[in-house]
């Protein structure tokens, strides 16, 4: 029964997850739109999940902890996205802006 374990080396999947993580990191660090920062964070969480599933499938496929860990990451990402977007909406109502550069009243 051919599977991905014989077809693709593990390091390729890890490099894919690393590339996705670094692209998400760049997006989270450099965008001014706050929702854009959240999009970068979601990309990083997806990269972590790909890593988890790759390690589970290639090294210990009969242990169930891999997909369970990934499911918890998905649940926590959903909760964090909900609260973060609620905060963005509240900031927009107070300041009329979602630019991360302009919400700096704590600075100085």
């Amino acid at each position: 029964m051919p599977s991905i374990v014989e077809a693709v080396p593990l390091s390729w999947v890890l490099v894919l997850a690393a590339g996705l993580f670094c692209i998400g990191l760049f997006g989270a660090l450099s965008r001014r739109n706050t929702v854009g920062i959240l999009l970068g964070i979601e990309l990083m969480l997806n990269a972590v999940n790909i890593n988890l599933v790759a390690f589970w499938r290639y090294i210990e496929p009969n242990v169930v902890a891999g997909p369970i860990f990934a499911l918890f990451v998905i649940a926590v990402a959903a909760a964090e996205a909900a609260v973060g977007l609620a905060m963005i909406i509240a900031i927009y109502r107070a300041r009329r802006t979602i630019n991360a550069d302009e919400v700096d009243s704590l600075r100085g």
Partner: protein, 211 residues
Amino acid sequence: MNTLIMALFLILAAFILFSAVMVVSVKNIIHAALWLVASFFAVGALYFLMEAEFLGVAQVLVYAGAIAILILFAIMLTRDTSGADDRQLHRRWWLALVVSGALFGLILVPTAMTTGWATVPPPSPGQPAGIASAREIGTAFMREYLLPFEVASILLLVALVGAIVIAFERRERRRRVLTLAEQVRLRRLQEGAARPEVPAAPANVPTAEEG
């Protein structure tokens, strides 16, 4: 068959990375959210390729079905009314590029490529491959992982209540016609939000707008 699997993986990987680059680089934030949805679907397809079917379905349902819709609603509720669409990257975005490029090229790729991972040898044709499927995931959630399961449900409840509390709009602010003092205050807020280098378009008088 192996080359087919490798070709599928390379196509999926190219699409994932391409849509991720599109997410962080397009100007329109709605287009960025749609490219993110495309990357969610591609990651779900990758889970199916790695034989984690339950996780693939959960990814499509939760990420592409709920989180993406939530992001689009938040974008729609926070549209910039002054129309000022100045640059969407920070002034020092090249520093973020250097940091993420260094993390990728100097730390992650050498570690992934040079470590000898202890991968399982493929099973002999006699015995079936024992891969944890949805049945084992469900059993584990009720046995070994029962406490984290319950804690995660409490976390979701807390996030639900917290999001409502944070974004709740008090009833007295929903009047359609604002008093003159409220109009002046709103105009001052909007003009304060516009930056000097942007030619500040006069904010439309909010007569039918919630405070």
